[in-house]
Symmetry: C2
Subunit: 295 residues, 2 copies
């Protein structure tokens, strides 16, 4: 069993990005600048935004957090986004999800101009991803692709099962894994809540990407020997084995399955850090105008 170390790859990517930032600054360019809008005081959201800000600092990006009260109106939020869309000093903008219920997430995330949409949520970026055109790739799927590439995991012609069809992870990664690319060319099956006989599919798969949101769901008797497991889930569950009384687990029962797999991502420290790595990569690409040559 080989552990796919997302934390280590995240460090490596940060080092590479830091070098690029240095060289940009030396050449007189501005530092890449990421803005994050945080609505309300959801503790997990704050943690996520803090982690992004910390990573920006580490590699020499500028970052700006725009804190908005829980009761901000959608109109006010949209006008803040429009201001950042127009700003020449900000390369990437993310709105931390979830948003309060009175605000429509699609309306908000799609109002971010596609050339600052470094989360890769805008329809133009998704459409261009499907068509294989340059775009900001959705952050978690791009992170998964980077892990598979780093560990030289052969995907060509492999049976890849994606469990979960969310817009943010399951659907885009199922598309990417089936494209005619070096990481890709897999025969992909997309399973979801309406899928019957899931065990038949898991037992038959060479690569399983689990993004279903059920703690410790995937167990050893459901997979074949030598399978590659990418675990996108992250859940905080009670534990009497930790000081805090809690531990983080994924959608995979790691301890149960680990002896049967060839490669597996741990939780935490697998896919999670890679999402931030992708966000930083997209922001640098925006600063360098590598995807869209906006004026």
């Amino acid at each position: 069993m080989i552990l796919i170390d997302g934390k280590a790859l995240f460090s490596k990517i940060k080092n590479e990005l830091a070098l690029q930032v240095n060289s940009m600054v030396t050449n007189g360019s501005a530092r890449p600048h990421l803005a994050a809008i945080l609505v309300g005081d959801h503790p997990a959201s704050q943690t996520y935004v803090n982690a992004k800000v910390k990573a920006c600092k580490e590699i020499g990006f500028k970052s700006t957090v725009i804190d908005c009260p829980e009761n901000i109106s959608q109109t006010e939020l949209l006008s803040k986004i429009e201001e950042i869309n127009q700003s020449k000093n900000i390369d990437g903008l993310i709105v931390q999800l979830p948003l309060p219920k009175h605000i429509d997430e699609n309306t908000v995330t799609h109002s971010i101009h596609h050339y600052k949409d470094v989360d890769g949520f805008h329809p133009i970026n998704i459409g261009r991803m499907v068509l294989g055109l340059p775009c900001y790739m959705p952050a978690t799927p791009l992170g998964i692709m980077s892990l598979l590439k780093e560990y030289k995991i052969d995907t060509l012609g492999k049976k890849c099962l994606v469990i979960g069809r969310s817009h943010i992870v399951g659907t885009p990664i199922s598309i990417l894994m089936s494209r005619n690319n070096s990481i890709g060319n897999a025969t992909v099956t997309l399973a979801h809540s309406k899928t019957k006989h899931l065990s038949e599919l898991t037992l038959n798969a060479d690569i399983i990407i689990v993004a279903m949101g059920v703690p410790s769901f995937l167990k050893s008797d459901m997979v074949k020997q030598g399978v590659v497991i990418i675990d996108v889930g992250i859940h905080r569950i009670k534990s009497n084995k930790t000081q805090s009384g809690y531990k983080l687990v994924g959608d995979v029962d790691f301890d149960d399955i680990k002896s049967k797999v060839s490669y597996i991502t741990p939780v935490p420290g697998g896919v999670g850090p890679m999402t931030i790595a992708s966000l930083l990569t997209n922001t640098l690409q925006s600063a360098k105008k590598m995807i869209y040559s906006r004026t």
Copy 2:
């Protein structure tokens, strides 16, 4: 075996659209207006455009064909498209493919404004389709969905195999069949040229959508009893059984497979006419501003 009659459904949809056009005209609205750009004198392209023009006439749409010489420059072509983008009298614009080699198909089709893109090829429409948002659906996949709906074919939880990952058919239909919709909710596998052991997949599938471009490829020994077959292929091959010396066949060996299937689309008269039906439906939606409320 039940034959899925695309020609009959096409007639039914045309009748419904004609009624809507009548009521629009009665209410003082302009007739929906489709423009088609035809570059060069490719005989098959002329046939396709003629069929679209004929269908427009039958249901009371206006149509305009813009004939361009084979050697038109990309710049000239783009400027014609921009003119139609700006025209207030034209609701939908298609550029008949294929284009001459000196012209980039993506650049051309993506220059059509997304709210006139009734073929559903623009990244915005594809991205919105992935996200389940209102959009012009790609014409052939929408046609397939309409056939499945018309014949009340149960797709929920069914194993659906899509063979072929083109941007126009295979990829979008694989996405649509997996969405959480009444026609959808299937467990979809997308197979392509790099897929190994294809027969294993075909033998296991409840619904097979074949869009691989290989004449008479799928045979009875590759499928299970009672399978639903949607054949997207169309090939003109030599035959000593017809007066013309040619006949049309699909990607499925119809005569060989027909006794084993529950439902099957014939070629011709299956998926083909439905592509035009979708194009007309999208154009009417544009005329009524049902998808995009452009000014």
